[in-house]
Symmetry: C2
Subunit: 268 residues, 2 copies
């Protein structure tokens, strides 16, 4: 549960009360094995999950049998807040690696949100950031070549992983098959294979044994046309590796509003 709190505290400060309440709400921990679905399209889940460890994917299955992965929830992410506010899953969530998930019932989460509006605002904010990531994926699939698209995915995951301190030696654990990648970027597995080979041949990355290593961050960013602004990562984060500098477009991230009393000057 520490990682969830750590991630929330990157953007805001939590009181002891709030931390306790989070611990209490996400009390139960469950394990999921690779390939296992946590939640399926059409279901009406009664709980919300927070990923502690491992790797998940959200995906939608099409009638013809294809699959499109629409996001990768990483450790520290509270996923399917979605199901808290809506009724029915319009997509599935599966485990790509062995994953530990802290679980909160809708009822408990509702109580939490009512008692701690500032926490509710933080969760709301997370939902908005997730939306920003979705938008970038639309751009990715709609307007970038297979090569740039794949590079972009790897860049994004690096920044998000770094944000929760899960990068090491310029790389991160990424235990996926090339088919998984192809479902995420909307290409055929064969083409993904060729793109990866090119990225390797150019000395940008290596991907082996479920681990992605980035050898030339600037090169990869250039190949991807990647700008991290949409991720809203913390401003001056302490990245455990050599790439910290690229993260700072030096934007100040807004504190979560509500009960902070801060307000901007009007406009309309």
């Amino acid at each position: 549960m520490e990682i969830i709190i750590r991630k929330l505290e990157l953007r805001s400060t939590l009181s002891a009360d709030e931390k306790d309440a989070l611990h209490a709400t996400f009390g139960v921990v469950r394990m999921f094995e690779p390939g296992q679905d946590l939640l399926s399209q059409g279901e009406r889940p009664a709980f919300v999950g927070a990923l502690l460890d491992g790797l998940l994917c959200r995906y939608k299955a099409l009638p013809a049998g294809e699959r499109q992965i629409v996001s990768f929830p990483l450790p520290g992410d509270i996923f399917d807040l979605h199901s808290f506010l809506l009724d029915r899953m319009d997509h599935s969530v599966g485990a790509l690696a062995r994953s530990r998930v802290a679980v909160a019932s809708h009822a408990a989460l509702q109580a939490l949100a009512e008692a701690y509006p500032r926490l509710a605002a933080l969760l709301w904010r997370d939902a908005v950031i997730e939306g920003a990531i979705f938008r970038e994926w639309i751009v990715n699939c709609g307007r970038r070549t297979g090569y740039a698209r794949t590079a972009h995915l790897l860049c994004e995951l690096f920044v998000r992983m770094a944000d929760v301190g899960l990068t090491r030696e310029g790389g991160y654990g990424f235990p996926v098959t090339q088919v998984d990648i192809s479902d995420a970027v909307g290409l055929s597995p064969v083409h993904v294979n060729r793109v990866l080979q090119q990225l390797r041949a150019e000395g940008l990355i290596s991907l082996r044994g479920g681990r992605l290593t980035i050898h030339d961050w600037d090169g990869l960013v250039k190949a991807a046309g990647f700008t991290p602004d949409y991720l809203n990562v913390a401003e001056n984060q302490s990245a455990p590796d050599g790439f910290a500098f690229v993260l700072g477009t030096k934007q100040t991230n807004a504190q979560a509003r509500f009960a902070t009393g801060d307000a901007r000057d009007g406009h309309g």
Copy 2:
């Protein structure tokens, strides 16, 4: 402002107090002309808008000059809640038609959210639904042919337009160029032209004078592989035209939570 309240009331009941507060918060109305940007990438807006009338598009511009439209805010939508919780726009919002927009300052909106947590929950819920639409767009761009993709866009807009009562005679106002459409579906303008011709030749639609008419809803749905579940439209809505039946997969939409006291049975 009526349309905003009407849309919110499709999913929930608003007290007189809440309606008054909404009116007061979104007091100022501004006009925008076609082609004009309401908000630009990189900006730090101090207000949130609600579209009363007209048509907007959210888009991201790429360095190479391409553009990807990531959504079409329709009348009744409160857009850029985004900017309320985050700092800086990672995308732009432009007007496609002459548009009337009700404007609320961040400060006023914050006060509203604090005073009426149920309204905050409704807005949060809207953000989550928007996320669901983004996901479907990822699927659309990633895994559907140009033909299906274009048909899908038209289906989605029909359902969303019908939701706020803006369809008439099986069609709706859609004052866009083929270039706009191509930027939304991630195709070249030339190919969009050919796809539209095919859709017309098959008797599915016509698109002329800024108005889209659907002649064969079932055919269009089939061409698109469209299922409306992700839109979370009201269950038994009174559509003003002949296509109401398709909208109901008969799912019960969750009431907005918070202060309703309802809770589901646990699971984890």
